[in-house]
């Protein structure tokens, strides 16, 4: 059985008794010791002074609160990638300095300042919630510091709030849902009822799905936006859905709200008659074990699936399971790819992190095969160009997993609001 709490499980067995912070410090100390001996060894050869110091990567993630699992998964993915490189990139050692944002914009601001101004990190990665991302936007923009966003999907950061210094390794909220709307109209039904939590991401996702679904000729019977972060009793919302008698339901939920909604949907008997189509996060690997059989048959769109059949993914999920003892999830993949993008940047500038403009330039041509399939960074939206997959929750070997039923092809955020 998959554990629902990978919170403390991801450390390597040998060093399991250490906390993450201690490990980071150890890694840093090791790196320091290594570089200083290296520097001593080749002190006759003139090497630039920066080579002696490890490159510091600041990480801003929630390690407490409702999205702690996301923060831990992203961390684990990122560390796994850097570990595979022996914590070296661009000819220098690499060190991580992690701080907890607690999901609060003001704490995140303070921590960002600490990382950049006191710890002197060379770039920052992380950010789970869009509120925090938008709150930090001006700081990174005004201080000309590079931020790689590893989750928060707010559309605006790829559109009117774009900054040359903020790039995203994850997705825009538009990305998985617009293609899904079109597919759902052609394959599931033509009358939809939509349900999402009442905050930025909920509206973004509903708007994207609604746009392609309506353009194709579908009818939207109703939309409901439920209280965020806690939805409370889902019964009245489920009743409202049933009353509208749709041919399918679209929803976006995440974390504990996803568990509550999907379970209630099944308990009230709707899953028998009305297909549930959702944004992939609502039935992602982190919530599936808690949802259990209630999630069976749910169809979702996302940029990755655990059982996605490609070589990079097979290697990734095995290595991740070995390292953490839990199955990978989409957030771990995003962390892993963030590590890859960072190492690409550092290689391109040969470890010279003072060359900000060259670091930004190197982001223009990031392209590799990710566990999610072919992955490119789109210079226009500063967001990935990636494949979107339609997945269905099925039972495989006694466990529930998302099985890919169709690859919808490559999608890039339009960079404006023309498509929802």
């Amino acid at each position: 059985m998959i554990s629902n709490k990978p919170k403390t499980d991801f450390t390597h067995p040998i060093i399991q008794s250490y906390s993450r912070r201690k490990i980071l410090k150890l890694a840093g100390a090791g790196a320091l010791a290594y570089t200083s001996s290296l520097a001593a060894a080749c002190s006759n050869q003139s090497s630039s002074s920066t080579r002696d110091v490890p490159i510091k990567i600041g990480v801003l993630l929630p390690y407490s609160g409702i999205y702690a699992t996301l923060g831990d998964s992203i961390s684990a993915g990122l560390e796994m990638y850097l570990d595979q490189l022996g914590y070296r990139a661009g000819g220098r050692n690499v060190q991580i300095v992690a701080e907890d944002t607690e999901m609060k914009p003001d704490i995140a601001q303070q921590k960002a300042r600490k990382l950049i101004e006191q710890d002197k990190v060379d770039l920052v990665a992380g950010i789970v919630s869009t509120g925090v991302l938008y709150g930090l936007r001006e700081y990174f923009h005004n201080n000309k510091k590079l931020l790689i966003c590893a989750n928060a999907g707010g559309n605006k950061i790829s559109r009117d709030m774009k900054s040359p210094y903020i790039w995203r390794s994850s997705f825009s909220n538009w990305q998985p849902n617009w293609p899904l709307g079109l597919w759902a109209y052609n394959n599931v039904g033509n009358k939809v009822f939509m349900s999402a939590p009442d905050y930025g991401a909920g509206h973004n996702m509903v708007d994207a799905f609604a746009h392609s679904f309506q353009s194709a000729g579908g009818t939207i019977l109703g939309k409901q936006f439920t209280p965020f972060p806690s939805m409370g009793d889902p019964a009245p919302f489920i009743t409202e859905i049933r009353k509208s008698n749709p041919s399918m339901v679209f929803c976006f939920y995440s974390g504990s709200a996803a568990v509550a909604f999907v379970k209630a949907y099944d308990e009230f008997g709707l899953s028998k008659d009305i297909p549930l189509v959702c944004s992939g996060f609502a039935v992602e690997e982190d919530v599936l074990p808690a949802q259990g059989s209630a999630a069976l048959g749910a169809i979702s769109g996302l940029h990755w699936a655990l059982l996605l059949d490609n070589e990079t993914n097979r290697k990734f999920i095995d290595a991740y399971k070995d390292r953490t003892n839990v199955d990978a999830n989409v957030f771990a993949v995003q962390g892993y790819d963030t590590g890859r993008i960072i190492s690409h940047i550092l290689d391109e500038v040969q470890g010279d992190t003072s060359a900000t403009s060259r670091m930004l330039e190197s982001l223009q041509d990031v392209s590799f095969s990710s566990p999610r399939g072919p992955f490119k960074l789109d210079p226009k939206s500063q967001n990935p160009t990636q494949h979107i997959y339609v997945r269905e929750v099925k039972e495989i070997g006694g466990k529930l997993h998302n099985v890919v039923i169709e690859d919808l092809g490559e999608f890039t955020d339009p960079g404006n609001n023309s498509l929802g």
Partner: protein, 331 residues
């Protein structure tokens, strides 16, 4: 006897002046000797000190246990965001502090007047519940009315203030300039409050705290006094919120959330209820401690909790209570 008291007073005064001079020199020199991060922390500490001092007016001086003070803090942040913020939702009307500050003051003042007139008809736990309910109501408006407030994302693009006299213009854009702006505001509010507390109005507030019935019997219209102090506290919290939004370039619904009210209450209790400097000490601790400890542990909030329990049980008058006791014993 009179002479001795006089010299003692003189000595105390000269010591006070010495301390004041040192503080002023340090405050002015800070940007030149400390690194930028320390200045950031100082700015935050000063802003939260202003916020905590305003709450202390209610809790400490008048005995009104408000649990919704973040409402005015957040309101200040959203008002400045709406009139000066540069994005597609806001008015972007002006960034001239000579106009924006009065608007923030009047805006928060009017809301505080309305809320105060209703809430202050109750006492104790009921007052606490009404203030909490009002703040949570504002929070959900901020979350849901996204066309105006930006919803959960908040409002971004708030510039640092500037003074524009037509012929002469100065912008507090740089961190150092903004630091001096915050320090000036803090000093003005600190001495303003000092005077108010020692004025007949301030003394009446203390009277209300210790025995409201008696004050009424003496002919004081206590409700008017309480509404007055509620508006004053709301306005000062609004100014603190405005400063924070300008510092972060961002107003977020979290500024309105009950945890923000809770944080301010803890600052007041930890530092010392009913003293002017107490909330400043509390705010300093509350903003600096997590910052230092969070690098070493993820559980700083647990330690904070233990510390708070110890303080409430052993030193109900906070750090200032302990310091004042020491000072008295020495003399």
């Amino acid at each position: 006897m009179v002479e001795r008291l006089d010299t003692m007073y003189q000595r105390l005064l000269s010591r006070k002046i010495l301390v004041a001079v040192i503080i002023v020199v340090l405050a002015v020199a800070a940007p030149h000797i400390a690194n930028t991060y320390t200045i950031s922390l100082l700015i935050e500490v000063l802003i939260f000190s202003i916020f905590a001092m305003s709450l202390n007016l209610l809790v400490g001086y008048t005995g009104l246990p408000s649990f919704g003070h973040a409402a005015f803090f957040g309101l200040g942040a959203y008002i400045i965001a709406y009139i000066s913020g540069v994005n597609d939702l806001t008015l972007s009307f002006t960034n001239n502090i000579l106009l924006t500050l009065p608007i923030v003051i009047i805006g928060t003042g009017i809301i505080a007047l309305i809320v105060g007139s209703l809430a202050l008809r109750t006492d104790g736990i009921y007052f606490l519940m009404i203030t909490l309910a009002f703040a949570q109501m504002l929070f959900s408006v901020a979350m849901r009315w996204s066309a105006v407030t930006g919803g959960s994302d908040g409002l971004i693009g708030i510039p640092r203030p500037e003074i524009d006299l037509g012929v002469w213009k100065y912008s507090f854009e740089s961190r150092t300039a903004f630091y001096y702006f915050v320090v000036t505001t803090f000093v003005a509010i600190y001495f303003g409050l000092h005077n108010i507390i020692h004025s007949p109005f301030g003394l009446a507030l203390k009277g209300i705290k210790s025995n409201q019935m008696r004050m009424q019997a003496l002919g004081y219209k206590t409700l008017h006094y309480k509404i007055g102090v509620f508006v004053l506290a709301g306005v000062i919290a609004g100014i603190a919120g405005m400063l924070l939004a300008q510092f972060y370039w961002h107003a977020s619904p979290e500024n309105l959330y009950w945890t923000m009210s809770g944080q301010a209450l803890i600052m007041v209790i930890l530092g010392g209820v009913g003293t002017l400097i107490g909330p400043v000490i509390g705010a300093t601790l509350m903003r600096l401690l997590p910052n230092i400890t969070s690098t070493y542990t993820n559980n700083w909030q647990s330690y904070m909790g233990i510390m708070l329990i110890v303080f409430v049980l052993c030193a109900p008058n906070g750090i200032m209570g302990i310091l004042l006791k020491k000072l008295k014993n020495n003399q």
